[in-house]
Symmetry: none
Subunit: 539 residues, 2 copies
């Protein structure tokens, strides 16, 4: 049984089959660099037989140096009733210049006859010929047995014959794919065990998440003897996605004791996962295991008071092991211990000034009474605490804003904002349009501030939520606006409450900019190198 | 070994511990009704000892009738060194009027000494006394053994003693909780097996998703003999969430053959999951297994051509079994079933006019593509269908509106709206202020309409929700406004989508009034007596 596991990342190939994901060649190069830093062993870059974008990717990566990963190109076995050496797809794999080729073939008799409509015998020849051809060109060959589990359940003997053919032709890996994602961990373990008894070639697993079991299935396969896991960062992929490597890796290494990455590499998991979600322009769910913003966030008062006594009471691992961190959410349910923890996080000493501490807690209680809810808005709470303890400069003062929305029959609606603010003693008066009122306000305010704070251009709103607080008279009641803002290195949440949605949005918007700009010194100090690498910091 | 599994839903209690989730009492009532329709066996409504909102929930549900579910209230064992009969929390459970109480107690020796800081012996007494007290009041008692798996791994003998105490005191269920979500399926199976050998009381499982294994762990527990699964719809819950019942249920029923819900109930799974995500104002990931919009979406060309030959080539179950539908992304072939159901409800005969039916379905598909989602907005869907089949008069036509929000330093924000509409051939020009922009628009529009439609004064907005859509290109930057409106006899929901929040609100507002006024004949016919009694109808 293997004690180490190789990670095969297919974010750039299978991951891009996910709805809403589309990556440019440049995006793919950036992601490949990050994956290499993380320490994955294989990076599947694309399918050179299917499109020119992928061909360009392989052209560019051929001259790049990767520290940890081998780049691999994807393709299929040769077409039926033809020769491998004449097959365009297989030749494109060779031409792509990679050292590792990954090809898939059919394991499920039903698919052979229904989907590609050939004989079972010819399918075996297609597998053998294709693997042999690629081996004859000196490539490492990973054979992906598509639908292996469904095939095995339907006709075990034939499924095993297909992978024997790949082995006979010299495949370096045989990867069993649960292509439809319908298998359960018990089945996976049993079938991987049967395969291990049948072939001597190293075996891998490729799972999909249609039953929300892709991570469990990957672990079950490894425990049954698989030495390679294929998956994607954040679980991107067709339908419900592929096995999420951001969860598979820490489970294998921290829970099951397999050797996968170095400890240092594992600590980059959170930042790599978030970086890739930014590049892919996919919202990362805050509750994503291990790497999500809420993965180690504590809300309930009981949990929080226990956490203060010993973090392991409510944390299954130390968040630092995967580069994440503990957060304590402040909410009405929780009393004061959460505020105390937040202050501790910020190194603000509550004990030293009990009078000030009392005032702040009163202020926060009063704001909660008015409808503020800080559990989702760390940044606003941090600004309040830092302002009280350290005194924070204002980035500007508001003189006035006007926001106009106008709709005329048969014309597109128009949103305009006029902002008058004082920055560093100067009064600035700007106007801007926007896709909607908040966007117009945001544009006008940025226009006023950008000459003083050029970093604003790297910040964008990434989520916006509105909640009506008084359910009895909805639009006459108060609204709470929760805004999420992102730059390349982090994400923060701010809050505004008002009976007016525009005013509430304004408060959240101002806090989001204040947080970014007043925290900028800290970001520069800690992450300047990284940000410069990304081309984000321009001084 | 059980062949059927009871579902214990804690969306309304543990689910609300999730970051960003906050439910009003009204939201909770709506969700409870839906859960009952789905057919879950237990609905945990809240913690009456912790806040007045939960107390109100139990007051209101006490007089409601549930077809399938028992309502249960949550609490903890008594405080240390006190009597169960004097415990405020336990008495609140009894006072809440539920027939089922769910209480948690400590299983992990480390927690007993570190978190609640008492002796191992006193903790055993706390469990025994609390369960016995609730049983003496005639309640069914579900005992949640918090941190059971961590406790068992640390000190198996003590962990087993704690649940023996619950059994001795008469608990009806012993539910083993993986509170920190750190356990793996193999451990879960082994420990549940050991527990089954130790106690005769039925056993349940309560898993958290910190390792992305909550669904797998729930299944492993059931396969080892657990007869109850606790979880939440869509997996809401603290940190990475609870076991996602939207995946657990179909896996148990369709994959493992356990009896959980009726086939009909299972078919409502997708709509219930989406409804609850709307009420909770939580974005549903499109790739969510079983119920997500992309769960049966096919993008790759190879997959699509195989799908056309036989859907089972790339689908692990028939999507209809869980009320979801196949989607082929290259050419949107959205299902039509909910539209057909709605048309049937309204006695609109789709079959009689196939051309018109086709046009309507095209229109609805296009609107869905633009971000409309009719699951939460029956009234808007009904207006579209009635308009197409019956032709509906316009209550007015818009010429223009203007909406201005103005804020000046140190002054209250002001919202004004100007509306120009044509009603019964006359142009009417009104202006009004409001507490916020939507309220100002609402006021100005009502002012224009009230002389023609005096019933408007009996209608008011009762809820207003905003969701930013980011999942697909067509919806990038768009917002969806969901509005709930109430008169004395009923409540209806309308929808507006636009890149401009004010325009989206306008659409929802207009539909809410149209629905009320165009349904007025029906209401008068059916409910005139009742409305007159209430003094609502003035003719």
């Amino acid at each position: 049984m293997p004690t180490s596991v190789k990670i095969f990342d297919t974010t750039l190939r299978d991951g891009t089959q996910g709805e809403g994901i589309s990556l440019s060649v440049e995006d793919k190069i950036k992601i490949a660099r990050k994956l290499d830093e993380l320490g994955v062993h294989y990076i599947e870059g694309g399918w050179p037989g299917s499109n020119s974008k992928d061909i360009e990717f392989f052209e560019r990566t051929r001259t790049m140096t990767f520290k940890n990963a081998k780049i691999t190109a994807f393709g299929s076995t040769r077409r039926k009733d033809s020769k491998a050496c004449d097959d365009i797809n297989l030749n494109r794999l060779v031409d792509s210049g990679v050292q590792v080729a990954t090809i898939f073939g059919k394991s499920w008799d039903f698919h052979v006859t229904t989907a590609i409509q050939t004989t079972l015998e010819e399918n075996l020849n297609m597998i053998y010929d294709s693997v042999q051809f690629l081996k004859s060109k000196g490539l490492e060959v990973i054979y992906d047995a598509e639908h292996f589990f469904d095939g095995y359940k339907n006709n075990a003997e034939y499924a095993l014959q297909t992978i024997s053919k790949a082995q006979d032709a010299g495949a370096d890996w045989i990867v069993l794919c649960d292509t439809n994602g319908g298998s359960l961990p018990g089945e996976i373990a049993q079938i991987v065990g049967a395969v291990k008894a049948h072939v001597s070639t190293p075996v891998g697993i490729h799972a999909h998440n249609d039953c929300e079991l892709a991570v469990a299935n990957s672990l079950a396969a490894v425990q049954a003897g698989a030495g390679q896991v294929q998956g994607t960062i954040n679980g991107y992929g067709e339908r419900c996605g592929n096995a999420n490597l951001s969860s598979v890796i820490p489970n294998l290494q921290l829970k099951l004791g397999y050797s996968v990455l170095s400890d240092e590499q594992l600590k980059s998991l959170t930042s790599v996962s978030r970086y890739i979600s930014e590049i892919a322009n996919m919202h990362m769910p805050i509750n994503q295991p291990f790497v999500g913003n809420a993965a180690f966030a504590h809300k309930g008062g009981i949990h929080v008071s226990a956490i203060l006594k010993d973090a392991s009471t409510y944390e299954h691992i130390k968040p630092e092991l995967v580069g994440n961190k503990q957060r304590v959410l402040v909410s009405e349910l929780a009393g004061q211990s959460n505020v105390l923890v937040k202050a501790q996080e910020l190194n603000l000493d509550f004990d030293r000034d009990p009078q000030k501490s009392k005032e702040i807690i009163e202020k926060i209680k009063e704001m909660e009474h008015q409808g503020y809810q800080f559990e989702g808005a760390d940044a606003t709470l941090e600004l309040i605490l830092r302002e009280a303890f350290e005194g924070l400069e204002e980035i500007f003062t508001l003189e006035s804003f006007k926001m106009l929305v106008e709709k005329t029959a048969n014309h597109a609606v128009v949103s305009e904002a006029i902002v008058k603010v004082k920055v560093h003693g100067e009064t600035i008066y700007t106007a801007a349009e926007g896709n909607g009122p908040v966007n117009a306000l945001d544009n006008a305010l940025r226009k006023a501030l950008i000459q003083y704070y050029p970093d604003i251009k790297n910040i964008h709103l990434s989520d916006y939520k509105v909640r009506v607080l008084d359910e009895k008279d909805a639009t006459a009641g108060k609204v709470r606006v929760l805004m999420e803002t992102t730059d390349f290195s982090s994400t923060w949440n701010t809050l505004g409450v008002s009976s007016n949605i525009i005013e509430a949005s304004w408060y959240a918007l101002v806090d989001s900019l204040r947080y970014a700009l007043l925290g900028r010194t800290r970001i520069e100090r800690e992450d300047k190198d990284q940000l410069e690498q990304l081309g984000v910091v321009n001084h």
